[in-house]
Symmetry: C2
Subunit: 766 residues, 2 copies
């Protein structure tokens, strides 16, 4: 799951000027923290940005993959004779093709399958592939491949998968690993101490990542060197995986992904389609492009698993929590996937006695992959609704209940101090900005349109850290290039990185060009995921810019004949403190002119030991429910977020509103439906699978950053934001609906059907 | 011209581990110095390498340029109405188009013209341009443009250009700058002291660079950011020029040129075609490709000017030179071009009394541009043939005469010591390997086929130096990326650079990937020209590799718990001297694994002050002349070259043989012919302009490196080779022909016509 116990990696890096701890925390800023549109906005909106999906190479072939239509089957025979003779077909590959028997490992290193594994463990497994002159010729050809399957018994239900006699998906039973237990104190004593106890079972549905750009790659060989354009969240991960699969040195594998149309976690892994594209390209000596049809993205590129969460909370009459007991189960799918959710109940609130257990099982369905705060929005759906139930039982305002249980430390082991933690500010300032007190005081609506407000809090457990290397290159005319490995998966990475250089060196933002996400020409970064790109890479950007500044100061000191520490750098100029007549523009530094550029390299320093970094948040919303139709409108949302320093106020809003939209999807509209008769997904398309549209998420939304740099954490003081932004959303909607209707619906999404069912049950009881 | 008086630039760079002078000269090598095929050979020969000429972008338009057909004319009117309506035409640009009035400066900064200057000073000046859907539509459209010219009097002859009343090509007369004088001692006293004097007038013809890949560019705008693929010898020069012309920050201009099909000096300047492509791309909001037809390359992209050289040499009876008087004239063409040749007679031999004057004039012809050792092969044609005349008059072997006049210092100012200089070894070892003594002792041929041997020496005056920055990135699996700015203009830059990394770090050559020549993603280098890429950039590559090694040693020392200076690095492993059981493979270094990569940055250090670096050479050849046809066959050639350390023995051969081929062109086949009636070039095509073919240059050739690292010069000890390789070639052929025939032909090229004319004159005299 998401929690880091190995968050401190690294050691002492060699001293470089850019990594000078003595440079201390960042002073007051002018560019950083302002609202800046994306530096690549023109390219993105004009269509000139070349996403991997747009890559078109001379002589390029198009690939298509034949996938197993069954939930569980064994491939007995594959007849490609007809396909091979189809017009435009250049190559057909199956498990029998020499070189295609590539073992496929999970990200944790365990063996999972082979590239075209004859044992198909879910609908959508790869059986064969074709490269042809046109995309439609490729599709025609895979339809002409005749496959003989032996259909096998299947299971798509979590509980059924653990029942005796359930179909075996892998050797060794359907449990994925051992159930994970988080435990402290004495749970029985905690409940004995409680004056009030609430219990409940909450469920969420399986949500699909569904990024705008489908999954896919373009592969080209030059001799034994491979170039791959991939829609990925991490080019270096893909490089490492491809180098291993194809037995090449990493330097022979170039992975490029400068633009990509979203991933939300589903593009953290290397896809089999990428390796298939490289093999077809090698067989045909031509570039090959494979982008998945949307249906294949739905079945085969991951999901946020459905969870069933049982929670019991005990508290004293004053609201002090005494115990939480929590059990969560979910399916990782047919391969290794983590459906655990226990971190949030374990750590969001101060509670001495805890027992939380996560069980993850295999089913015959597409595997789970990390999806924006994996596990945590589900846990919030349970925990934060249970907290509201508890508040109601205690007669406390839900805000007040939460304020009485703010955690003092991360309650793991002996307790780790937070480098910074502003959950209280998120709740208090958020409530004030939202007008919480007024809203809860308002009398209930009388008619068929019922409004209600709700809040929920959240915490995120993945802080980021090394490794990250960044190079800043200052040109002799004072303009700059920034070179970093991180992917910009839509979050504005290029823009905040350029803003840091602009801030530190005084180069105007429009004179900074960012190169990134290319294993051959850009620096190293870990994948963009876990809300760690900003906290991992921003200190490296700052260090690289400081290295440039350090070198410029050295050159200028020599040129002006003054000691380096006598020079002040500001606005692309250096001036002597002791004799302000001695001044030099950066563009007048002779050594810069002679060298053409000055190159500064920055590394991400290790995180501090013995502490923990956790962004926190609170979201508040108001909804209106139509009791005649079950329709739910989001009227307004406010997100109060502590993610340390705000680098770009505009992308901060973007992230928060984007996270809310995705949380509304989890809470209100999205649900993967598997047919229990066939094990197939029946809504694997964007018509039947309900991603929230603009009309579903529109409202009077606001974003309130708690802009407190966390300098105990890193040099820029920035923490993650992307995942926290979606953590409390669904739960806040759930609480608002419960307040609006006077009845709690424990299962997400809150479809009209579920709302009408709940209202019917309510009327029946009344 | 070529001589450097400012060869020392720079100052003290900041201390970085990689630039550690204490690392000292390079020890014995295993990879460096071996024969290694190009690391990109597969791409080059298979056609997968994408040269700028191969770049094809989605939506790309094709440009064509309308050029003035007259030697001298004024554009009175341009009517583009018909062209604009032609099928496929997307844009037409002329001097009247808004934004096209861009001033055009010479490389020395002087104003020369405007982009579409109505004053056309030579055949081939740019008048208008078109962008269309296909290349042929663009050509059709420029043919439909109606231009009204006022034809002006023209001059294409150097001498006529200086005569009173000659057509004025620019304001201020047709002399380009002041004649350049090199002078020392007392020339009159020197000749008074002489016991033997020879005099002669030697001429060379105008030679065209004619690289395989024509000149051209592809331009694409993304908002206000520009990307240009250019067939250039220096991406940073093009970046600087485009940024200035288009008033953009340099970081907004990305110039890419990873492959290029030769330049020989003609691609050191930015072409107007490049700017025109950027303007057409901006007008149409589509990428635009302009590659010049071969005819335009002949008229408008430079040449090695024709020279007339008068030389007088005095010597004592023992062969000691007492005086050299030298005068050279040539045309720079219609714009600034240097036709000077005086360096070689001034510096090749020890002579106390010297007077050398270079005069360069404007004519109505395409401008001169630096061409492989600009000026020096012409000077060698004169000097080295005059030396043979002198040897004959003295009754000395030509080899012996030269050995008696080896220079002790560079005879400029008080005299500068050479960092190393092995002219004597070139002559002695070359003669030995060639069998010079035996060859000259052989009696003359009797029949119509006359064989003869000849030798000539050479020196090159451009040593290279800073700036250069290089980054080496070592991956956690021990493979590496090398990132440098230099263009690989065909000389094997990528290969020797990878060999240095392989040597220093022990990474296998095939696991090193080189990225280069991209202003956005690669490091800074000056243009590849002047034989300075190796001596300028190889020390930076070594410094970057050493920086990586230094960091690895630091990490390993910490991991093993030993002092850094106790560790020995060899074969990608580190071992303790004091306790060899303490050892670590590079791939086992934890910090490398955690960081993903280690990045080392290297800078080129300044050259030493108060000395001069000059590669030297001697070439020996044997020819056979058919006295019936005037046909000339090259039987064998041997080049003995001192270029310091040999990095790659195979590319060393390639460079020497390539230089010889080009020198054979100058001496035997190549000649631009301008029609004196029209001022137009009459052989502007590869059929009528005689580039030597394989049959013209084939023979029993050998290459003898004087492999002496010049560690007084730089850390790798390598000096330049590309230009020296072509310096003595034509002169050696001239001397061999004179020996074969007993008559000296003073004008190059030695065409059958000139040979037959000389034989006829010889018979007349006899």
């Amino acid at each position: 799951m998401t929690e880091r116990t190995d968050y401190h990696i690294g050691g002492t890096p060699p001293e470089t000027p850019g990594n000078d701890a003595a440079a201390g925390p960042w002073p007051a800023t002018t560019v950083v923290g302002s609202r800046q549109p994306r530096i690549d906005a023109y390219e993105r909106v004009s269509g000139t940005a070349v996403y991997p999906h747009d890559v078109s190479l001379p002589g390029m072939l198009h690939g298509a993959i034949l996938r197993c239509p069954h939930a569980h089957a064994r491939v007995l025979a594959v007849d490609t004779a007809a396909a091979e003779k189809m017009p435009g077909v250049a190559a057909v590959i199956t498990a029998a093709t020499p070189g295609a028997d590539i073992p496929w490992y999970e990200r944790d290193g365990g063996f999972a399958s082979t590239l075209f594994d004859p044992h198909c463990r879910h609908q959508g497994e790869e059986v064969a592939a074709v490269a042809a002159e046109t995309p439609l010729q490729a599709v025609d050809a895979i339809r002409a491949i005749r496959v003989t399957y032996e259909e096998l018994p299947f299971v798509v239900d979590d509980t059924a998968a653990l029942a005796p006699g359930a179909p075996a998906i892998h050797d060794g039973g359907n449990l994925i690993g051992e159930p994970r237990v988080r435990s402290r104190g004495d749970i029985a004593a905690g409940f004995a101490e409680a004056e009030v106890v609430v219990e409940g079972v909450y469920r969420t549905s399986c949500q699909i990542h569904a990024p705008m750009e489908p999954h896919g790659s373009v592969a080209r060989w030059d001799g034994n060197r491979l170039t791959v354009w991939d829609s990925t969240q991490g080019v270096y991960d893909v490089q490492e995986r491809l180098a291993a699969a194809l037995e090449l040195p990493r330097s022979s594998v170039r992975v490029i992904g400068p633009y990509m149309g979203g991933g939300f976690g589903s593009k953290l892994e290397t896809g089999k389609y990428t390796v298939i594209a490289t093999l077809l390209a090698r067989m045909t000596a031509r570039p090959v492009k494979i982008f998945l049809p949307r249906e294949d993205c739905f079945t085969s590129t991951g999901n946020r698993p459905a969870n069933t969460m049982t929670i019991k909370i005990g508290a004293k009459a004053d609201g002090t929590l005494t115990a939480i007991e929590y059990a969560s189960s979910g399916s990782g799918g047919a391969y290794f996937g983590d459906a655990g959710t226990g971190a949030l109940p374990a750590y969001l609130y101060q509670v001495a006695n805890l027992h939380a257990i996560d069980t993850t099982v295999h089913t015959n369905a597409g595997k789970a992959r990390p999806m924006r705060a994996p596990g945590v929005p589900q846990a919030a759906w349970a925990l934060e609704q249970a907290m509201d139930e508890l508040a109601a039982k205690l007669g406390l305002d839900p805000l007040e209940l939460r304020l009485r249980n703010i955690p003092a430390t991360l309650q793991a082991g002996p307790g780790l101090p937070f480098t910074s933690q502003h959950l209280r500010e998120c709740l208090v300032k958020g409530a004030e900005a939202f007008g919480w007190a007024e809203a809860v005081a308002r009398p209930p609506d009388e008619g068929h349109l019922r409004r209600g407000v709700g809040l929920a809090a959240g915490m995120w457990f993945y802080s980021g850290g090394p490794p990250s290397t960044v190079v800043v290159k200052l040109h002799a005319d004072g303009s700059a290039n920034l070179n970093m490995g991180a992917s910009d998966i839509g979050c504005g990475t290029k823009t905040w990185a350029a803003m840091i250089v602009a801030e530190e060196l005084g180069v105007p933002l429009e004179q900074i060009q960012v190169e990134h996400a290319d294993t051959a020409t850009t620096q190293y970064a870990t994948s963009s995921g876990g809300s760690k790109t900003v906290p991992s890479d921003s200190p490296a950007v700052l260090a690289a810019a400081r290295s440039v500044k350090h070198q410029l100061i050295g050159f200028a000191a020599e040129q002006l004949g003054v000691p380096a520490d006598d020079l002040v750098y500001a606005d692309l100029a250096l001036t002597s403190r002791s004799d302000p007549s001695k001044t030099l523009k950066v563009t007048e530094i002779g050594m810069l002119g002679r060298r053409g550029v000055v190159v500064g390299t920055g590394y991400r320093e290790p995180n501090p030991e013995g502490s923990f970094t956790a962004p926190t948040c609170a979201q508040f919303c108001e909804v209106e429910v139509d009791t005649r139709t079950g329709g739910l409108r989001i009227l307004r949302f406010l997100g109060a977020h502590d993610s340390g320093r705000v680098l770009n106020r505009l992308t901060f809003d973007n992230q928060v509103f984007g996270g809310m939209a995705m949380g509304i999807g989890l809470g209100v509209t999205e649900e993967r439906v598997l047919d229990r008769q066939t094990g197939r997904m029946v809504n694997a398309n964007l018509h039947d699978y309900k991603i929230p549209t603009m009309l579903d998420v529109a409202g009077d939304h606001a974003c309130l950053p708690i802009d407190e740099p966390d300098h105990a954490f890193n040099t820029t003081g920035a923490k993650g934001l992307g995942e926290p932004a979606t953590i409390p959303t669904a739960a806040a909607v759930g609480n608002a609906v419960a307040r609006a209707l006077g009845v709690r619906i424990s299962d997400a999404p809150l479809t009209p059907r579920r709302i009408l069912d709940a209202l019917a049950a309510q009327r029946k009881e009344a």
